[in-house]
């Protein structure tokens, strides 16, 4: 049943370096933006930037770009479930009356 494998994709050092550069730049941007008071939007912006960073890590460092579609689907499902857990808890918390 052993399966001699398709060649593995090797992440080039140039790509890895570029991704690192982007991640560092995004970190700087995150810190900079947090200094500006945008009210509620601050959380949204911070989370969007964090999500972008994590997508970079997953896509390149974690090789998701070179995996089969199935892997992408299950990663999506995992985060979807987490979002559902958080979101549905808010049906309670957000609509609770003070007394």
């Amino acid at each position: 049943m052993s399966e001699h494998h398709q060649e593995h994709h090797i992440l080039s050092i140039k790509t890895a370096g570029t991704v690192l550069g982007l991640l560092l730049a995004l970190t700087a941007l995150t810190v900079a933006v947090s200094r500006i008071d945008l009210g509620f939007m601050n959380v949204a912006v911070a989370l969007t930037l964090a999500t972008t960073k994590s997508l970079l890590v997953i896509t390149y460092f974690m090789h998701m770009k070179y995996e089969s579609r199935f892997f992408r689907i299950i990663v999506f499902i995992c985060f979807l479930i987490l979002a559902v857990f958080i979101g549905m808890t808010f049906f309670d918390v957000a609509y609770r009356h003070g007394g």
């Binding site: 992440l11 911070a46 974690m62 995992c78 958080i86």
Partner: protein, 199 residues
Amino acid sequence: MSEIHKDYTGAKLGMWLFLFTEVLLFGGLFVLYSTYLYKYPQDFHTGGKQLDVFIGTLNTVVLLLSSFFVALGITYIQRGEKKLAIRYTLLTIIMAFGFLINKSIEWSAKFHHGIYPNSEHLLEMPHGEQIFFGLYFVMTGLHGIHVIIGAVVMGVMVWLMKKDNINKDDFVKLENAGLYWHLVDLIWIFLFPLFYLVL
């Protein structure tokens, strides 16, 4: 037995499934974080201001670099450059220690100010800040434990590479260890803005 079939994709699938459990383990805490942020936005803001943005940013950079080094380590082992692979994996471990030292400086500063779970100073703070610091200690603490585990795993990987158990043709263990390390980084990517930059 398991040596008979080397199922590369299977091993990676198993690792990813394990990573999902890690995501959801922290997920439970993110559920708590988001609801408490909704409940006490002002106190979270005040709490966040008491954390050191510089140390937080520094640690983010440290972890990003370490992730980069792991990725390089995997690239080198795939190319058969064992020495470089070991060197970058060791660099990852050094980064992990750097992160932990930074973290411990930060924590001990907090302890010094009388802020630690159940401390008298903390109990006098508004409810929202107590929760903020409660979450801060629990989440960064759990993350710290993962960093320690990750560093140990990387240590084992170095040893296995030296033994030539991990090599050009069989590197799935290093790749899976790398996946774990990236996940630790990934979680920090979210913890950083949620605690140090919260507004």
